[in-house]
Amino acid sequence: MPDESNRQNPDAAAPDAHAASPDQDAQTTVKSTETKPPTLEGTLKEFAGCFDLGYRTFPRNQVHAVYLEYLIDADQLHRQLNQPFLEADDAQAAQLLTQSIFQPITTLNESVDSVLYGSTMLFFQGQAYALNLARSIGRSIEQTETETVIAGPHDGFVENLIENIALIRKRIRSSHLKFISLSVGEVTKTQVVIAYIEGLANDHFVKQLKTRIHDIEIDALHEANMLVQLIDDNPNSYFPQYMVTERPDSICSKLTSGRVVGLVDGSPSAFVAPTSFFEFFASPDDYYQRWHLGTALRILRFIGFAITIGFTAIYVSVTTYHYEMIPHTMLLNLTKSRSNVPFPPLYEALLMETTIELLREAGARLPTKIGQTIGIVGGIVIGQAAVQAGFTSNILIIAVASSAIASFVIPSYTMSASIRLLRFGLILLAGFWGNFGLILGIGFIIVHLSGITNLGSSYLTPAAPMNRTDWLDTFIRGPFSKLIFRPSQPASPNRVKTKQRK
């Protein structure tokens, strides 16, 4: 701080504030701040006990400044506040405060909020002004760890909302790109921003998302993944209903396809609405490669999905009930390796699947370097030794391993985690009822998926309701010349992407 002598300890200021309104208790203070005029005393009282509160006056005028020291940029503070006001007398100060960077504040509530969001509150002759000096806090833009691509931009969202908005703005140079700011959390007052492109996004979805976020009742919000669970259509469903990503390029493509995007301060994830089930299988990579390759990759992911949910379950059902289905050449090997195993296939499979999940969870919690060690120890030692010790059959190891690997093909971490858990249900059903149980389970999944909605739109679009045009950019990745229409799910008022010149 440039001028130590003028800086007062907030603890010292607090008793003064108390003296000004001695008969108010905490309850009424909170309520009355809605309409109370913004006063220095009131503001100081709200921040009583905050050691990081900065409060200073200037010797030559009556200006009082209140701010949270670590939220604001010291340089800016010096340049914008200290320098001009140290030398100014009352008349000059009044003149200075007419500048537009000083926003007049009318209620105590606003004044407190401004301080909390990184502004400096200036009190002068009964008037209150907010000067935004917020400093960027958190790491700078870097690559996302969870959603890497090989070809394509490597920047990812960070915890800092301002940086994230800048990333989007930088990619979409359009004045139609709108941001709505909301705050969620009674205690945390976390800033949530809804972004959409006017004219492309359907107003219905924008309004609905706004209402839902506005209606959230929660004390604290820390993450976008947490927010989406609060605004789900089907909160008890098994599947993630909003696509959450850390990739700005992906978010921008969602915006231009007419979807609505939400950002949460303090979270590197942005969410997209409305989302369909199949979007979780698309990666930005698909668009950065030739369309044949992109198509192949998409199909590969759907195969991965089938392997993830089905492979181990099929092993269980086939070895427990349907020995007829096993090719004869494999049968003898399987019997040989199974004959050393003391458990029925169901327990064997559950045991191995749990082991794999343990490995995965342990690997995820550990730093990268140790994580690799865990992978090797788990993969080689447990895999090899378990078979040799007669703990499991080697075919099961293949099934478990390939379904674990296949689950990581799905680009969305939340979806891949859901599917991995789903597998256990299918394994149990396969163990109890064989292929009948397996089909029953898959039937239930399809029924459940069909029932899910996202902001009122069907989760299974474009399979149900059927939309063939969308298929070109869902199950395959068509060439750009053929991707003329925006997807049907966001119900964009402007369906045609480009009016193609002849």
């Binding site: 427990t320 009930y321 020995y323 399987l334 029925p344 109890f432």
Partner: protein
């Protein structure tokens, strides 16, 4: 309220799972899968009356995982095939199941009495696939399956591989439970099956078994089996050796066609009402093409004219041989090519139903074969242009 209902449903589900969980499990290592089964009559050597009543001798071959290529062979005498399984199950350490059955062998003595009642149980059992090979054994089927062939993997696997190979080379027509049951039920066509026999150290394909309905009535020797295949099916690839009569006094010329593809078309001319074989004229058109890989004759295959001559010779050969083959088959009152189907399609079903197709009509049917043989290629050996040399 809601929670009570949920509890109810949850307990119901748990109950259902627990109750059904333990029933009817077939955990693979506790099963003994029959790979091959052989049915035959008990040997004819003064056995007791009890033995005589039980008219069926069944051998099961169950492969074992360890040691490799080993198997369990169990033989028993019973009234029916399922009874045999029950009897054998009493002896075996694992539950005997038939879901991995690959081949069913029938002894020729048994086959002469009719196979359908044995095939019926196999087709009826849902765990048995329809691609199970049906094989007739010249001789004793039980003995064949009980034998181990030292040079080969276990006998069951040997039989399967042998049949796959032979039918891949169109030595034998495809014959499995499906085709057998289909041809058995279809009116105007009779099933066929491959024949196997034991040799000193090996098994060998012994031609094709002909049936009248489900009774084994005759055999096509292996040398004629490709000709039979030409008439029985369209084939995509095969090999045929033809013995063409040489010029006067000279030795017979041998010609071998490889990659033979053939198409057949059977048409029937029916004079109504059908009273005897004279009223039915069958016309068979064969289009055969192949690559010459061996030729011992005098013709110069590089000359187009000579090729045409050769084609004509082969055409004569095929027409003559198939005609005698068909006549032999018709004498057996067997109809493997489905002449009856062609006739049936031209008359009303009531008329067809009254016909004594096998006994009265079939032996007298007149058959014409028109073959069209083409040389696709004369192989890699190409001499210098003969025209230039002269």
């Amino acid at each position: 309220m809601m929670t009570r209902r949920m509890m109810f449903i949850a307990s119901l589900v748990a109950f259902a799972l627990l109750v059904t969980g333990c029933r009817d499990q077939r955990i693979i290592e506790r099963m003994g899968f029959t790979r091959t089964v052989a049915f035959d009559l008990p040997p004819d050597d003064g056995e007791s009356q009890d033995q005589k009543d039980k008219m069926l001798r069944v051998t099961l071959s169950i492969p074992k995982a360890q040691p490799e290529n080993s198997r369990i062979v169990l033989t028993t005498t019973a009234h029916s095939s399922k009874e045999a399984r029950v009897i054998v199950s009493r002896k075996n350490n694992r539950r005997i199941v038939s879901g991995q059955l690959r081949s069913a062998l029938f002894g020729s003595r048994l086959a002469k009495e009719g196979l359908w009642k044995y095939i019926d149980t196999l087709v009826r059992d849902p765990s048995i696939g329809s691609k199970v090979n049906v094989v007739i054994v010249s001789g004793n089927a039980n003995a064949l399956l009980e034998r181990d062939f030292k040079q080969y993997p276990s006998t069951g696997e040997y039989i399967d591989d042998l049949l796959r190979n032979a039918s891949g080379l169109t030595e034998i027509p495809q014959a499995n439970l499906h085709t057998f049951a289909r041809d058995y039920f279809d009116k105007g066509v009779d099933p066929v099956a491959p024949l196997l026999k034991e040799d000193k150290q090996t098994l060998s394909v012994d031609g094709i078994a002909l049936f009248r309905s489900d009774r084994y009535v005759g055999r096509i020797p292996p040398t004629k089996s490709l000709l039979f295949s030409f008439l029985h099916d369209n084939i995509a690839t095969g090999e045929i050796v033809m013995k063409l009569p040489g010029a006067e006094g000279a030795k017979d010329e041998m010609i071998m066609l490889s990659f033979v593809a053939s198409k057949r078309k059977i048409t029937a001319k029916v004079r109504k009402p059908v009273r005897s074989g004279d009223d039915v004229a069958i016309d068979i058109r064969l289009r055969i093409s192949g690559e010459v890989l061996e030729y011992t004759g005098k013709l110069n295959l590089q000359k187009t004219e000579d090729q045409l001559v050769l084609e004509k010779q082969m055409k004569a050969y095929v027409e003559k041989e198939t005609k005698t083959l068909i006549e032999e088959i018709l004498k057996l009152k067997s109809d493997p090519f489905g002449f009856g189907k062609k006739v049936r399609n031209q008359i009303s079903y009531r008329e067809w139903d009254k016909l004594q197709w096998h006994d009265a009509i079939l032996p007298g049917v007149s058959v014409q074969v028109h073959a069209d043989v083409k040389v696709k290629d004369i192989g890699k050996l190409q001499e210098a242009d003969p025209v230039d040399e002269e």
